[in-house]
Amino acid sequence: MLKMRVIPCLDVKDGRVVKGINFVDLVDAGDPVAQAQFYDSEGADELCFLDITASAENRDTLYDVVGRTAEKCFMPLTVGGGVRTVEDIRRLLLAGADKVSINTAAIARPEFVREAARKFGSQCIVAAIDAKATGPERWEVFTHGGRRKTGIDAVAWACRLADYGAGEILLTSMDRDGTKSGFDIPLTRAVADAVRLPVIASGGVGTLDHLVEGIRDGHATAVLAASIFHFGTYRIGEAKARLAACDIPVRL
């Protein structure tokens, strides 16, 4: 039976971790590779790096981080942030990423998703959607960290990305992100039920029960969280144990 996935996410800037794990005795807590190894040893199902490096010149630091991670961690790695061209994807895959997530570039030019899927296969193209509620049972796609409206309906957009060949949807509620109040469950379920693709729920995790809700009520097949793991509130193993206790299949 396929297992539901728990995915810790690391924000990487200029090759360094922003908001890193600070509860374990890492030699260099700002080193994404060290943190990735820690999550690997903890039994994370996948890793996600979100690159928030502002300048293009420092982009090479990301390839270096991905390459060094792939040398040490024999587990799936998704990398997102600033992926705009087929060449960006190729470089990340060659460095050792297994999947890349595309966000703003898909909104600017949806055909990019189709081209990427044709070239590299749907399995490595993750379409990231940042959504905000704009009315009852209505969510809109936002960009620029939730500041810019696009006027695009989030559920319709997910269906379109699926048609274009995306292999997975990374769905973040910008209303919930950073609030620790739980996933936006109606949003998650609306998207997960509308597409045949796996949906990763993201944004708002503060407790282990939130993870359970994302899968059980939101119909996501993977849950992504950053701060509850970074700050040592919970360990990966605890998260999986809670899911298992709620009869959700996980890899223990």
Partner: protein, 213 residues
């Protein structure tokens, strides 16, 4: 012993190489891992690995784009009968035909075709993505030590439908059994990514390096 990982423009070569290097370091006989597209190197390798990330047709074109590469694979795998491992699309390429986006002829080393995963249960997501249990169907040396409950990392929307069930070594259940490990003579493949499957994956790679078909 020299293991070559075939570089034909497909992704994830680096992670495959690193996993094989790790497993090679534990091999009893000195083992070198080389990533190459050079036909002369591939033709005379001791073991050949064909990784694969991407679409079937695109990967097939990648193989054809390197002059002499297919002939070298044929020499090593068919004529010299060296152990061969195809990973994910690298396994699928052994089929007679692949039907991802368009119908494309494969290498034709193992009878069957690559077709979309179509589980009867419509709630099952496509691609089949994540960790699934691998269930042995034969006592093949490649899956030695991979007991029940071993998980491997899968990510695929198409699967290898074998013509001959005797080629099936292990399955994964996703609304029905999917070929997870296949083998025939000196030729083997995994639908999952052993290089991404932590300890279970490294175990399979170690088994491959010690395999004497």
């Amino acid at each position: 012993m020299r293991v070559v990982i075939v570089d034909y423009g497909s992704g994830n070569l680096r992670s495959a190489a690193k996993a094989f290097e790790r497993a090679a370091a534990e091999n009893e006989i000195p083992t070198d891992v080389e990533v190459t597209s050079a036909p002369e190197t591939i033709a005379f390798a001791d073991c050949v690995v064909l990784p694969g990330v991407g679409a079937f047709a695109d990967c097939r074109r990648g193989l054809l784009a390197v002059p002499g590469l297919e002939a070298a694979l044929h020499e090593a795998v068919v004529m010299r009968a060296r152990p061969f491992l195809g990973i994910c699309v690298g396994m699928q390429l052994m089929a007679e035909i692949g039907r991802e986006f368009e119908a494309v002829e494969g290498l034709g080393w193992i009878a069957g075709e690559v077709v979309p995963i179509e589980p009867a249960d419509r709630s099952l997501k496509i691609p089949h993505m994540g960790w699934n249990e691998v269930e042995r169907k034969s006592a093949h040396p490649l899956v030695a030590g991979l007991g029940s409950g071993v998980h491997a990392y899968f990510v695929h929307s198409y699967h290898f439908r074998l013509a001959d069930p005797a080629d099936l070594v292990a399955t994964a259940d996703y609304g029905g059994p999917l070929a997870a490990v296949i083998a025939r003579d000196n030729i083997a493949g995994t639908q999952f990514h052993p290089e991404k499957s932590q300890e279970g994956g490294l175990r399979l790679i170690r088994n491959f390096l010690r395999w004497h078909p």
